[in-house]
Symmetry: C2
Subunit: 243 residues, 2 copies
């Protein structure tokens, strides 16, 4: 295993950080590394808000579901899908721009995800720990207002960055045989069941809090109700009409 | 700059490959590295179809817009957002599952993107080159049928993998000052205009085909018409109803 693959495979979400701040020079390096990721038709449909104001961090920590590390990590970023910049540029170059297509939502969401993952790897390669904060989609309208996001920009997720003050166990993943399929999609039920057992063992023996749970029993409450039912209206209001 | 960041920043899309195949053992390693990426609530909402059948590769190359390297690269993968596996697991664990939420489309699209980008980096760290194929969304229904994708699974993008037979110039990116914003969203028009000039210089001097173009003039035709207007109906038909 080469050192890069070793680094990738050593990922765990970090939720406790030392007081050491993330320098502005390092942050710039990380963003540059992020931007090096592939981008659909070169649109680069993303913006990153570095939330420095402590009051706003505290508010976002609350709005994201009471995640204290949003306020206490070395740095906190909000990754936005940004269709404003590329469509404004196209308009300035003479296009009669069509906005609000479903495909544009996908392009921007994928673009920002590839970019963020590159940043995550770059951060980890520098000894930082990271944690994605999907919880920014708990209250995306309030967070958009706080960050003064314009139309055609939406907050996809946040990221805590900082120097780790703990080292949690690495969480297992589904067997490759459940994920990788030759030529056609086939369900591999055995692999899923094996993974349920893997997760049961993991939860019973991991550092920092044991419980009796399996993968599927953990997922049950997540899908037993409407997941973030405000998202559709929120996106439409932002100009992502999903036409 | 550490070697990982150096690797990230040396990315270019590869579209010409040697005949050397990608071994099955290496592919497994790459998928494992992909899976190590963060995943929302541990859902791991992705499947990867390794398209081995040469006829199907030729068909997908055509369906993706006549991209010959889809058929000729060392390996070709289709990355799918897969909400079937986690929701089926939740259902088996007793949940009365609600499917078709907009948020589920986002979760699965982000999950597969983070996973794919990890795989891209792992591949590049092993000396492979990659190229994302967003063109699978040109004809997603036909490709879904070919790969026998079930409901609640959709093809997000493809990826060509193989040993590079060319080394294109690295394509410039927007200045960090256009992307990274402190506390609130502010348009940095100067940075965009500077980038238009950067791209004009790049297109006039790059290896392999020069042209007179700027970033914004390249984007104009992309947004001057409805981008992939079939995507909405396609996703609804797949069970991603964007409720």
């Amino acid at each position: 295993m080469n050192p890069t693959i070793e680094l990738l495979k050593s990922h765990r979400s970090i939720r406790k950080f030392t007081d050491q701040p993330v320098s502005s020079a390092l942050l710039t390096t990380l963003v540059e590394a992020g931007q090096a990721a592939a981008t659909s038709n070169h649109v680069q449909a993303y913006s990153v808000i570095h939330v420095k104001n402590p009051d706003n961090r505290a508010k976002i920590a609350e709005l994201a579901g009471g995640q204290g590390y949003v306020a206490s990590s070395g740095a906190f970023l909000v990754f936005c899908a940004d269709m404003k910049r590329p469509t404004d540029a196209a308009e300035a170059a003479g296009a009669r721009v069509v906005r609000g297509m479903t495909e544009q939502l996908l392009v921007a969401t994928i673009d920002v995800s590839l970019m963020a993952q590159n940043m995550a790897i770059a951060a980890e390669s520098e000894g930082l720990g990271i944690c994605y904060i999907g919880g920014v989609r708990n209250n995306p309208q309030a967070i958009s207002e706080l960050l003064e996001l314009p139309e055609h920009v939406y907050p996809v997720f946040g990221m805590c960055l900082g120097y780790p003050a703990h080292q949690p166990d690495i969480k297992p993943r589904l067997p490759v045989s459940a994920i990788l399929k030759a030529d056609t999609y086939r369900v591999n039920q055995e692999a899923v069941e094996a993974f349920d057992n893997t997760m049961q063992d993991y939860y019973q023996t991991r550092k920092g809090g044991n419980k009796d749970a399996r993968w599927s029993t953990n997922l049950a409450p997540l899908f037993d109700s409407k997941l973030r039912p405000h998202m559709r209206d929120f996106l439409v209001k932002r100009g992502f009409e999903m036409k």
